[in-house]
Symmetry: C2
Subunit: 541 residues, 2 copies
Amino acid sequence: MSFEIKEKDLLGRIGKLKTKSGTIETPLLFPVINPSVQPVLPQRLKDVFGFEAVITNAYILKKRYQNKPVEEGLHNFLKFKGVTMTDSGAYQILVYGGVEYDQKEIITYEENIGTDIATILDIPTGWHVTKEQAKLTVAETHKRAKNFFTLKTRDDILWVGPVQGGKHLDLVATSAKEMGSLPFNIHALGSPTEVMENYRYDVLAEMILTAKKGIPIERPLHLFGAGHPSMFAIAVALGCDLFDSAAYALYAREGRYMTENGTWRLPEMDYFPCTCPKCATETPKMLISKPAKEREIFIAEHNLWVCMAELKRIKQAIRDGRLWELAEMRSHAHPALLSALKRVKKHKDFLATFSPCVKNSGFFYFNHEGLTRPEITQYKQRILTRYTPPPNTKTLLLLPQTRNKPFHKAPEMKKIRRLLQTIEPELANKIHIAIFCAPFGVVPLELDEVYPLSQHETALPIDKETVEYVADQTVQYIKQMPYSSVTLLNSNKLWNNIIQSAVQNVCVEKNIPFETVESGCTNDRQLIADLKTILLKQLST
Amino acid sequence: MSFEIKEKDLLGRIGKLKTKSGTIETPLLFPVINPSVQPVLPQRLKDVFGFEAVITNAYILKKRYQNKPVEEGLHNFLKFKGVTMTDSGAYQILVYGGVEYDQKEIITYEENIGTDIATILDIPTGWHVTKEQAKLTVAETHKRAKNFFTLKTRDDILWVGPVQGGKHLDLVATSAKEMGSLPFNIHALGSPTEVMENYRYDVLAEMILTAKKGIPIERPLHLFGAGHPSMFAIAVALGCDLFDSAAYALYAREGRYMTENGTWRLPEMDYFPCTCPKCATETPKMLISKPAKEREIFIAEHNLWVCMAELKRIKQAIRDGRLWELAEMRSHAHPALLSALKRVKKHKDFLATFSPCVKNSGFFYFNHEGLTRPEITQYKQRILTRYTPPPNTKTLLLLPQTRNKPFHKAPEMKKIRRLLQTIEPELANKIHIAIFCAPFGVVPLELDEVYPLSQHETALPIDKETVEYVADQTVQYIKQMPYSSVTLLNSNKLWNNIIQSAVQNVCVEKNIPFETVESGCTNDRQLIADLKTILLKQLST
């Protein structure tokens, strides 16, 4: 196996990809090398910036340099002592409508120059195409993929099988399944460039997830042509392992300065919002007065630093189990990125299936986008399928979440415990206490130290979609559990009576008694007395 | 005037603060200098990192070094050729309950060492105090402030008058008004450290805004003891201009690594998620094997780079008119920061009063936290107080927002224009077209190119609170304008019928005819025919 997964979070992972020229760590970005105009020399990319691998285009190499890279070997030709990947000219098919070589010629060339990772000559689907056209690209890509295995002679190269289909998700699903059934080492999602140019990151998210569901999960996925750091975190969270960037250099030529939160044009800048070794001692004003070539190299190197730091941030986030937080933060760089994250909700079960259940750290819950988190899906599945209340409990006492956690240690719980002590044990044992809290819904008190039920922080006040999720989970819980009555300590201020009316309705539906007391209306002593009266009444029926 | 405001956004501004040792640009962070244990020499802070000013403690200097700083002068004593600020020992009053010198001694000492910016000896309120105790600190601070003006002899020093009151907002308001009426050059918000230690950034936000409302808006505000970069953007957005940080050094001593999104402990790190000149070429593993002192200096310098970059990011955001976006992004570093941003909603009118109406760039709308934006408040105020529909218009045709903007150039509008062309001009002129859109609500079509009605991007789908805001603004608009009927082209998919029922209700209330057509139910031709029938019917009554 050439790919070994070391750590994971959501669908993202830190992996080791073994190639004939060395092992590289993913998530990884291949800077695109254009041998004829290259602002930063390949070996400098490795030695100074830490890029272990680069990508170049076999089609363009063959066309422009013919036999030289074959004679010298790709690594010597590029003067790069690291891992090399080659693309095949498929992007040129998309842009120019065709290329001068057939797949056999490209494959043979890739083998002859000795690249470490190589791409077959697939047919990109593109963006502005009808479904019929898209179908043809998927079919032709599949045909070429099968044919490729009769052409290749080298097994020490890692071969990439691109998934096509564009925005047509059913075609992406077909393509992923077909390509995934062939023995490729790596898969790629074809030509998302136009999707991104149109800011349809929501469509891109679905394309990625659809591809992921079709290919074997243990193979790395390359997202072709995605080189902006603002979307790396979301793409990794959805399962992309490899990226390539020509953007660092193309942007630099146009004076476009990348950050993990967006792009500036140099003339718009009064400050460099960056700590990188280039920006630390320079101002935009100083830079703008320098020769064009110097400016270009400066920005290219800045762009590379930013990309590298974002990849490290992503890896650290995977290690910390906080990739969701990072993706959520990044989704605030542009509304189109947030739309992408919102779209992931449809796939939350898929996310939950592959994400770890227990993590190094607690989590931060901000608003309903967070309902997509695997922790919440996993909790809901477990509580509704595997849990039953303690034997002999009869009535459910539902209490609102407390600021301090775990809930059973919060100061508010002391009064409740004291109340239970005033009830004779045989009756008190029939009372089951549970908390309703954002974002989980009902949490039985005896479980409140199970990860992550106390290991999270929630932003207050809670947004409406979250309140409704809590209400819905509470209803499902009560519907299913064998309580004979329910008492709710309501907290209108935080929950706006939505939980209260939901619980009332489900009790009516189940035909069991429901009582409620509002917290904060009367003094504590009265509240406790009222609760006691209600509980005794409910237990006596 | 010692403070000149160059650019502003929200309550944040880029300013020039003139001192006797030079002019410094705000927002600015004073690194705290402890002359006896200083991981980074003061002059290095300026020459390498670009910190133009530092802060040290006059009380501690006097106690520990007595006359030496007086003889040498503070700048020589610190070996710092820049701007110096001194705190007064007030924090030591809070921590130790009292200090050894009285205000006169401190003021005289500050004058004698020749600091550029100096603080009176106020009495911090602190966090765990009753209202009565808090009242005393406010009264005593005010008394000392008035007394100070009889003590000071130097007018070339910028004097800082701290605002106290703690979490008791009415006391903060009193204190701000009293201190603001005295001729201080700078104000400070006293001891927010404990508020932050308790993660009550929501309370801190209200404290800052309450102080801002009381002091003259043209004086700079210093937030004492707030040195973590994750909260700079929000604090600047609320009107803080000056910060000080001992944290960069204190954290370093404990191996705590700051980022603009939170803090890591060194042993938890596999990667440095940073491009700074320290981190670019080092790994946590390498660092952890080094001597403690070297580790401490490394982290202190990293922390300083991160703080400096965040300040530049904030200034660039002010210049771009995108400080809200940055604050919103940062509020996703911790739920307590998002709670703070949510709390600002109560003060949105104050924000709108001082924030510019027209900006360099459009804005990004993510979810209902954005409803606090001044652009939205300003639009609502203007449309409801200054706008009347074009003369002779009789019926309102309300259309849903389009993906492309300006709305009147969107492809969907072509069909509507063609429809109007089939109605005789005299009648067609009686139809007033408006768009309902997130986040603004009703936008009359003829205004849709006015900033920022087309210069924004909204994340889809729209969250419930935003839909409700749009519904509410739409209702207020219809209630107030003299239409005799309303036709709504509904888009249930995006708006979940909430706009539709709100419009229906207000029409019933106003007793005017209301009709609705659902977009996407029938084919376009049928839709247009239905709309025409309705419009003609409404115009004929």
